[in-house]
Symmetry: D2
Subunit: 409 residues, 4 copies
Amino acid sequence: MPSELVELKGHIIDSLSLPRVLDSILAQGGEFEILEMTVGKTRDDQSRALIRIQAPNDDKLNAVLAYIEQEGANRLEQQDAELVPAPKDGVFPEHFYCTTNLPTSVKVSGKWIPVDRVEMDCGIVIENGQARTTPMNDVRAGQMVVVGHDGIKVETPERRESVGTFEFMTSTVSSEKPKALMVAEVARQIRDTKKAGKKVLLVGGPAIVHAGAGEAVARMIRDGWIDVIFAGNALATHDIESALYGTALGVYIEEGKPAPHGHENHLRAINEIRRVGSIAEAVKQGVLTKGIMYEAVKAGVSYVLAGSIRDDGPLPDVITDVMEAQDAMRAQLSEVGMALMVATTLHSVATGNLLPASVEVVCVDINTAVVTKLADRGTHQAVGVVTDAALFMSELADELKEAGPWRAS
Amino acid sequence: MPSELVELKGHIIDSLSLPRVLDSILAQGGEFEILEMTVGKTRDDQSRALIRIQAPNDDKLNAVLAYIEQEGANRLEQQDAELVPAPKDGVFPEHFYCTTNLPTSVKVSGKWIPVDRVEMDCGIVIENGQARTTPMNDVRAGQMVVVGHDGIKVETPERRESVGTFEFMTSTVSSEKPKALMVAEVARQIRDTKKAGKKVLLVGGPAIVHAGAGEAVARMIRDGWIDVIFAGNALATHDIESALYGTALGVYIEEGKPAPHGHENHLRAINEIRRVGSIAEAVKQGVLTKGIMYEAVKAGVSYVLAGSIRDDGPLPDVITDVMEAQDAMRAQLSEVGMALMVATTLHSVATGNLLPASVEVVCVDINTAVVTKLADRGTHQAVGVVTDAALFMSELADELKEAGPWRAS
Amino acid sequence: MPSELVELKGHIIDSLSLPRVLDSILAQGGEFEILEMTVGKTRDDQSRALIRIQAPNDDKLNAVLAYIEQEGANRLEQQDAELVPAPKDGVFPEHFYCTTNLPTSVKVSGKWIPVDRVEMDCGIVIENGQARTTPMNDVRAGQMVVVGHDGIKVETPERRESVGTFEFMTSTVSSEKPKALMVAEVARQIRDTKKAGKKVLLVGGPAIVHAGAGEAVARMIRDGWIDVIFAGNALATHDIESALYGTALGVYIEEGKPAPHGHENHLRAINEIRRVGSIAEAVKQGVLTKGIMYEAVKAGVSYVLAGSIRDDGPLPDVITDVMEAQDAMRAQLSEVGMALMVATTLHSVATGNLLPASVEVVCVDINTAVVTKLADRGTHQAVGVVTDAALFMSELADELKEAGPWRAS
Amino acid sequence: MPSELVELKGHIIDSLSLPRVLDSILAQGGEFEILEMTVGKTRDDQSRALIRIQAPNDDKLNAVLAYIEQEGANRLEQQDAELVPAPKDGVFPEHFYCTTNLPTSVKVSGKWIPVDRVEMDCGIVIENGQARTTPMNDVRAGQMVVVGHDGIKVETPERRESVGTFEFMTSTVSSEKPKALMVAEVARQIRDTKKAGKKVLLVGGPAIVHAGAGEAVARMIRDGWIDVIFAGNALATHDIESALYGTALGVYIEEGKPAPHGHENHLRAINEIRRVGSIAEAVKQGVLTKGIMYEAVKAGVSYVLAGSIRDDGPLPDVITDVMEAQDAMRAQLSEVGMALMVATTLHSVATGNLLPASVEVVCVDINTAVVTKLADRGTHQAVGVVTDAALFMSELADELKEAGPWRAS
């Protein structure tokens, strides 16, 4: 395995440089060995780490080196930077070095010279023994431009001031990642959890149903991917309304048009289950024949429907006392290895309060604020996927389906 | 066709009751005839409309009647309300009347009696000649409950105070509708626009590519569904980066992992096209062989890439002068019948400024604010779909594909 | 009072043109008289209204006319448009006519000529008997430009297709209005409600306290502006934590720094009140000596603290059964004339479910989605103020304070 | 100064425990000395740090200890935990130990026993030699409950899996902090920047003006707090419209009502400045006599108005070529020590691209996404304040004003 020695110097712990560097190495499939480490004793002392990086191949190694360079991790021994003339006005030579927004030096003729004007995403032009960042649009044909990653030294970001008012926070949220990948990643986590003999907990809000993913979630339950459900009156009511009348909040799910008297359907659905006595009884009597709650009853999946003050009805299965509901939720948590929280702030935060930090939490919502709230309230392990919950759940069900149902495997 | 006479009385124009009623009738496939109409001459006078409603069948007619009742449209001639005892504690009789939050009266023994305690989503209990709203949970077995829609009169909502500070606004945005339906609806609009001999304009942001829908949009272009593209340097760069290196913003789109030196790839992609001279030239020379811009060049689709101050590079095709870019956009608008705006505030608002009100506008974004901004700036015809743009575009491409490419038809 | 006759023709009811026009007139302090009105009998027939507008002065009248022109309301009798040459390249003459995005005609030499290229925010240039919209940047010195509002006819927006999938919605939300005005407007509504002998209901979330507006709200209560409070365990706990320890969620409110063992303070606050028995008892015993709950007890303000599954503790005053909590809320609503909902989705939607449509609702939240949810669930009267709730409440308390406490007046 | 020895063991670097611990110590005004440190050489090895903590007083020291205990930093030598009986059902003894969501042990009779059922915000009950977390509501009178922080050991959070698809991100955004504090903190940063002889850069969007903070920002400029302004056509136009006509986007800022022909005022404002030739010329000729741009001209503050494709007009001072605009922005950056970015995504991201990582960035916006975008694009130093920009700027101007204008000091 190819390897390289890098040095990281400065306030590498409190600027988070060291953790970021180690994380990047692992993320690329590399390994690290910390050969030397001296840690600054007090807030003003600098630290230094000497790290050997190994990667499966040169490409991966270069990837790691390029990435960690942005954190100020520089190769220990460096030759002069390679210089190549710009081929045209406004065009850099191939493999031009691309700048960060950190102070940088270039090794030219054996000497380190500082680069003037710190700016990210530029090239470095060397002229008259001076180095300076140059935007692509400003380079002129023939100017000598640094290419490759040799002979470059980037300073570690400064230690941030003690943060005081502004909070030090790590979160993992983004609306800008490839969504298909996130679906695949969450599917993998679900499979891994099941294989490890742990339970998967679904914490869900009603948008799952009225935005059209009820059928997909029902399928996931039927196929054995979900072991426990935490939800409220609304999810179950919308699901049952949809099973009984084809509508959610009075709108035909397959046509998107209001049904006759449709706005009343959620109340009629509740009234019907109250008449029969319970959801399980409705399944038994053949009143309820499909949907999320139907599949949950059929598959013996445990569910806790916790009451809230905005509930209509509610369904007879809803625990209207919130302290009893908390206890019912606690009773289901012992074997849970992963919680998938979808489109519900209330139930997600409530569940986060009850979960050990060791349970993996994935939170899917169109609104970034839900994940931030989870983290603010101590569920730091929550990973957020900012996307349309219904589209996400439909694709997740498809992804899981490809390998066949869980019980079959 | 079954029909019914309804009366609407009060401040039916400025409370928007009348427009809502007419809209509901049409939305259900019904027809209306306004038999009489007296309009209040001044702000204090009430208006009155007598409307005959026709619908294809009794079910639809009942749907219309139930819906418009919420706006205070009452059947002209009414019998006594039907009363049925509650079958159990906490359970209403079937077909119980479900309340609105408007003042309501019930006809009992030929007399209209007002219902006490206005509250939505309750039943109405009649006891000792008194009527009052009762939540489902509070009804006791044997209490007489109004069922059906006979003998019910709901008052028109009051005229709102002259709005002053708070704006009078109509918009059409929701994150809570079935998404599959919206996909189908937008696909239908695209097909209708093409059939009408009009052009479809795509206004797109870079999230289309880095969230993974680049291939889907490329396919839509290849199949002839898009005639004009307005975008910026970022969309084109991400698309070309993805075609050349398989990454967007340095992340492998198919694996979601950072590529070696990946953060530099967008600059390298720009540099490469600058070297060659233009996107079209890159296609001609075989440098660019797939993606959105490739398909656009191949299909002869017009594109305007408008510059912005956050651009790196930019690509040689980008019009860096914003007034020139506006003129280039104007020049493409003459035949446009529909604009699909996806994941870009800047280009959406800019395009909205240039479009006649007669061009249909669909705006897809994870953020409600984009549509609000469009409407605030005068593009009142914009319809917003609040969802994940990449997932939406992937499903839209699939939906359009089912019927085969446009050119083939 | 100056007056003017205008005509509105087309699908003026279902395009909402007529309601918008009447609303604009009133918003400017004008009055209207509908002289003639013919309403299209069926969906295909056009309607026509002839309206006399009166306004307090010429300026107001012109304001109305300019505004409603955008809805297609044109003055009945019109002279030729006035034409003035552009004084410079890129500069329009003063008082140039500013276009809408609707089809427009100009009266030149007694004939109406259509304006080419519909685009908003341009001028109209007349050349060779042709009229066309021209962006400011493109006008050349000497070109004849329409000035003033004479001789201009704008078409009514087309009737929208029956909306089907996409919802017909009116809401009143904006994050782009002058905030000081909104504060003044809400203060005025509160005063008017009190003067009318009605109660003001505050529905509040914990952000009021931890974002720093607890003191302001306490003052509003002390001064008699709030009659009823609906909240949850969190608001009361944060408030009491802040009164007992100076912290909210463990952070010193006045310094923004974490307190010793601060994250535990909310639990200690709850424990303390549980020990004493109730909030009122804590006030009586001198344990609780300031804050929102203290002032509420002192002023005899009714409060309902409704439980939720995310509650720690909870406080002994919290009603943990949600159906009981709903009933407790209902019992407080009879005299409520206005509800001010601040920074809580759960309690706002729950309260919205219980309120008659006649109660004014103002909903203050940093997140647009809360108001949309209220409207989606039937509380159409809700007016949304998208802003920072804590800053808003602080300014509202200041605004109300200026006129002295309510009881004093 | 009181001090204490703590030990931190496990994956303390890549779980971010060590940086968080050091940060907490400094945030409380404490100091640390790292006495011993052994760093795991490879990804599987654990690390260990022995840290001496000093704090100004016992209170602060206890605060630090309580806080870092949540990261698994435990006092080296510990006595048995103190046990006190619960005084009542549902009430813990005073100073009860409050749990985290990490695995925990309690020292009882010299032995460490693990606590059953990991859950945050509970107490620990010891019964029959067993320890278990107990929610406040479930404790019974007389049960022995752990109080204080002696005899408690909390495990370090596990190392997170190599993150792969999900990004490792640190950001500093919150909508839930006391806003008055953030105002004070930003004011302090501005003052510190000025005192250090550096420039303060304001990057602003038009919402500053139309939401009512134009006057406040004008005052900040007049008082010497702002040295450079980056904005677009919209900010300057709204400001000038407001100075010339009292409106922004056609709405009277002081009344919130639409002005006569108000929607045209922004075009008229642009036209007027184009007629005169430039903003500076308009100030010179007495056409422009107040507002942000007026004060900027008067105070000799540099401004760059960069064009965008959504611009109307634009003003003659706007640089319509975006590459030229970038260069103009670069030319102003040399002495900038702090950038205050307010209510503009486009200009904030563009400026972030140009700034060295050493320039402090504060980003104020009602939308969390802006700060996330800045960080995603490499401006990691950005600190986000999620609040109403106009209210924030008004309070910031007041805060700065209290100490008098800068030039005077």
